[in-house]
Symmetry: C2
């Protein structure tokens, strides 16, 4: 049995959103499942001294252009959200709780609908009500979820996920592990496919 | 007649090196020539507040791994240089002078051999003698070149190229323009191919 693809993301990362729309297809090609792992880039950037993409001079302007172009190239629905970026702690905690309480399948559906709410339907996913509405669309009890994400165990679970991700070298999103091998970015999907094919082959001459 | 692909690079950028080994092939596919444009990332990073890739926590470690893997995936010879990164002002000025005095073809050959000297043959291209040796291998008079790169007009030409690049939004390397459209990174070569095919098509629904 192949190991699952570990898919780390922050719900406010546009490249993670793009990647999320194609991760099931990639996993199917590689005969694997996907372990969706929400994290927060804020605490990671704080420790690595990085800044959100769009705040970087020149690179931010380019990224906004590249995102729209990449979405068009891959035929992915995309509308630049406003406000952007937004805090995603509620959505991330909600997803972790759904994963624990209701299972991975429900959790990945929640993740896909949350991304869609933000990057297509222009909903502000930093708001509790928006998170609860997305959950409600999957027949998850909003009141139960609202209580759950304020519990210490869920708060600690998210902190632990973020610390664990950093310890494994995660510094951005999307960030994937395939059999422990790290890949950063939607633009590495083709590398993953090629790497899977060649890794058993002998190394080329230097 | 199609416009040339403008290929901005710094000789010490590993991703630019990887891209340089496939730029002629890309250009041939698109029925274009390549305008090789050496710049220095140092002054650009100073203005944008960026830091060299390998100095970034976590990202630097990942990049060194990703480079070797990418080279292997694309079957490109690559040996991580040491020292790295190095100042490339002499190589960049030399290339600009060769371009002006001896033409674009000689200049692009010089660029490819300089990249190869650093990323395959482990030569320190920050040293004048190494730059002159590469030029000598192309039957360029080393003494004439050594004098030329100390002239004010070549120094100013490089400064002007860098300022011009920044004014166009260049913040890293490799950085390409195809009919004015900006693409950053070797991993955008496939995007360039797809963008060329779809840009005449009507936009998809949002």
């Amino acid at each position: 049995m192949n190991t699952p693809i570990e898919f780390y993301f922050d719900f406010t990362s546009p490249y993670a959103y793009l990647a999320s729309t194609r991760i099931d297809q990639l996993a199917a090609e590689l005969d694997r499942t996907v372990d969706w792992r929400p994290i927060l880039l804020g605490p990671i950037f704080k420790q690595t001294g990085s800044t959100p993409l769009v705040e970087m001079p020149l690179k931010g302007t380019y990224a906004l252009h590249d995102l729209v172009r990449t979405a068009r190239i891959f035929d992915i629905a995309y509308r630049q959200p406003d406000p952007f970026p937004v805090p995603t702690v509620k959505a991330a905690r909600a997803m972790l709780w759904i994963k624990q309480a209701l299972g991975s399948e429900k959790a990945s559906e929640f993740a896909q609908r949350t991304f869609h709410a933000y990057f297509v339907r222009q909903k502000n996913i930093s708001e509790l009500q928006v998170v609860l509405d997305v959950a409600g669309s999957l027949d998850i009890d909003p009141a139960r979820l609202a209580r759950a994400i304020e519990q210490e165990d869920i708060k600690n679970a998210l902190r632990s996920e973020i610390a664990d991700a950093m310890a494994r070298g995660v510094f951005g999103a999307p960030f994937l592990f395939v059999d422990g091998e790290p890949f950063w970015g939607f633009d590495r999907y083709d590398h993953i496919r090629k790497w899977i094919r060649i890794r058993a082959a002998p190394s080329p001459k230097p």
